[in-house]
Amino acid sequence: MPARGFLVVAYKIGDAVNGRPAFHGGKSVPPLREGGGSRLRTGAPDDFAKRHGPLNTVSRRRRAGAALLASVPIVMLTIAVPFANRVPVRIGGFPFLLFWIVLWVLLTPAVLYAVSRLEDR
């Protein structure tokens, strides 16, 4: 069950990123006509729908994969840190904890680049 819950959240993140409506009841909002104007308006519900119609052609599975991949550095920099904290090894003179954090800070651009490639395909 938790795995499924995560997947649903991942789908929704993917939807939000790709300009698609967060899904409600599994249906997506049909594309509405484009309109002009750029002033802030309130109480005009149709504005939202017509501005951000479904643009993407990327499959849901792929978008979920992108969100999952992006969560890797976050996990490595948070939940994994107590484990890195207990490794009594020095790397190039630096304590393992510092090495681990710097490693994942440096890997994050690579991961995010992979995410963007995954989305663009």
Partner: protein
């Protein structure tokens, strides 16, 4: 010439040159709110990178990170991690915020709440919170500036007047040039901070120990556990680290200066590319840690807030006045330019969401630009006055900033992910979260070693979810389409 004259003259010259450079580049752009506050949504990848870096790397990065490395050791590493977490979240969040901003001509984060939740009251609430929380953040920059200027003055004069002068100069600069001016001035700021940090983080350890690794070994020989976190739920231990990284990473883009920077992007891919590359900039922080550790190894003994001065004092002791002056100048820009962006952000929020939406004043383009300008100066004076009377307990104030500002994030995330959430649900979450944050900030610790703000955030999400389940928003199709 006396050393303090040389050092301070260099600081003044660099600040002056930066302002002139930015004013010349910005030139005479016609100012309306869209240009003044969000740079006409025209910034390309490079200018946006400079603006974001310019807003994010502040005097807290410059002095505070070194101070924590000096005074606390491993807990400082959280500063390296939370920005990276924030950029990973931002990769998904920022393009979505930008799209809504573009479609509705938004200027501020409260605007986003107003269009999504169809509630001006909620927008005004968010605006007031952002305004209140930005004051301690600006005050912090002023204290950073004071440390730099008194060290550059070799402790021979009272820095208060110099801090006030520099701050008013930068406020007048934002008054004139708006967001575009801040972005261009950040070119000089970022370049000089980068050079200063490379000097302090690499040359300094080489000077004393031969290499950064040898310096780290030296620190660990004296204090073997300095770069290891305390176990589990101990104060500033592993649980604290995880919750603080998450809290700060989640709240990262919620300040009043962030939304205008996001809206200023030319398009979505500009934002995405920036979020991909931004973590590389975090390595600057590693060098700042090195500077702090070197100061600890060479001259231990500074206690409490004095730790913030550590590597600047070491530079003052080791190098001639002109080197100190150049590095203090870089640090001063790192205090002044983020402060200028914060002033502009806070002024925009007040002019658009409090004056405009609440009181229906200054709603025309011309009137709004001038109202924002006047507010930039007013808020600058307010922050300066507060700083003069209330110089203590800044660390508490900074914690209060992140604890408080992060409470806005559930409203933003739910806006994009969950149509059922209404203005009342978000308001309930914010109210509960802020109250718990305030109470726990007073206690200065959360339960089980958790960062108090993170605990408050959990309460916030729980309240918001409960209200959303009990009283769903009436027209979910509207909400869904962000």
């Amino acid at each position: 010439m006396r050393p303090e004259v040389i050092a301070l003259a260099i600081v003044a010259a660099v600040i002056f040159a930066t302002i002139v450079f930015a004013l010349l580049i910005v030139g005479r752009v016609k100012m309306d709110p869209q240009e003044y506050i969000v740079g006409s949504r025209s910034f390309g990848a490079l200018l946006l990178w400079i603006l974001l870096a310019g807003e994010i790397y502040t005097s807290f990065t410059f002095l505070g990170a070194a101070g924590w490395a000096y005074g606390r050791g491993a807990p400082a590493f959280y500063i390296l991690a939370y920005g990276t977490v924030a950029y990973t979240i931002g990769y998904f969040l920022l393009p979505a915020l930008w799209r809504v901003g573009k479609a509705h001509g938004l200027l501020t984060l409260p605007d986003f709440f107003i269009v999504r939740y169809e509630s001006k009251a909620l927008g005004v609430t968010v605006a007031v919170l952002q305004f209140l929380l930005v004051v301690p953040y600006v005050t912090l920059q002023l204290t950073g500036l004071q440390i730099l200027l008194s060290i550059a003055g070799y402790g021979r004069f009272n820095a208060t007047v110099a801090v006030g002068t520099a701050f008013i100069a930068i406020a007048l600069f934002v008054f004139t040039a708006g967001l575009r001016g801040t972005a261009w001035a950040s070119v000089i700021k970022d370049t000089s901070v980068l050079l200063a940090v490379i000097f302090a983080g690499i040359i300094l350890p080489i000077h004393f120990f031969g290499s950064p690794a040898a310096m780290v070994s030296h620190v660990l020989a004296v204090q073997p556990h300095w770069m290891t976190l305390a176990r589990g739920t101990l104060p500033q231990g592993e649980i604290w680290y995880i919750s603080t990284v998450l809290l700060s990473g989640i709240g990262f883009f919620m300040g009043p200066a962030n939304a205008p920077a996001i809206y200023s992007a030319r398009n979505e891919s500009t934002l995405r590319r920036n979020m991909v590359l931004m973590p590389l900039y975090q390595i600057v922080l590693l060098l700042v840690f090195f500077a702090g550790f070197t100061a600890l190894a060479v001259m231990p003994g500074l206690k409490g807030p004095a730790a913030d001065q550590s590597f600047m004092l070491l530079l003052q002791r080791t190098y001639p006045a002109w080197v100190l002056g150049l590095i203090a100048a870089a640090g001063s820009l790192a205090a002044l330019l983020p402060a200028s962006a914060l002033l502009l952000g806070a002024a925009s929020v007040v002019s658009k969401n409090v004056l405009g939406d609440l009181f229906n004043v200054a709603t025309g383009d011309r009137a709004r630009t001038w109202a924002t300008r006047a507010l930039v100066l007013l808020i600058a004076f307010l922050a300066l006055a507060l700083w003069i009377f209330e110089k203590r307990s800044l660390v508490e104030l900074l914690l209060l900033y992140y604890n408080g500002i992060t409470q806005l994030m559930p409203g933003v995330l739910f806006a994009l992910l969950w149509p059922r959430v209404s203005a009342w649900a978000v308001a309930a979450g914010i109210a509960g979260g802020e109250l718990v944050a305030l109470y726990l900030a007073h206690q200065n610790a959360g339960p089980w070693g958790v960062n108090p703000g993170f605990f408050a955030l959990a309460i916030n999400v729980a309240l918001c979810t409960a209200v959303a389940l009990a009283f769903p928003k009436q027209r979910p199709a509207v909400a869904a389409s962000l």
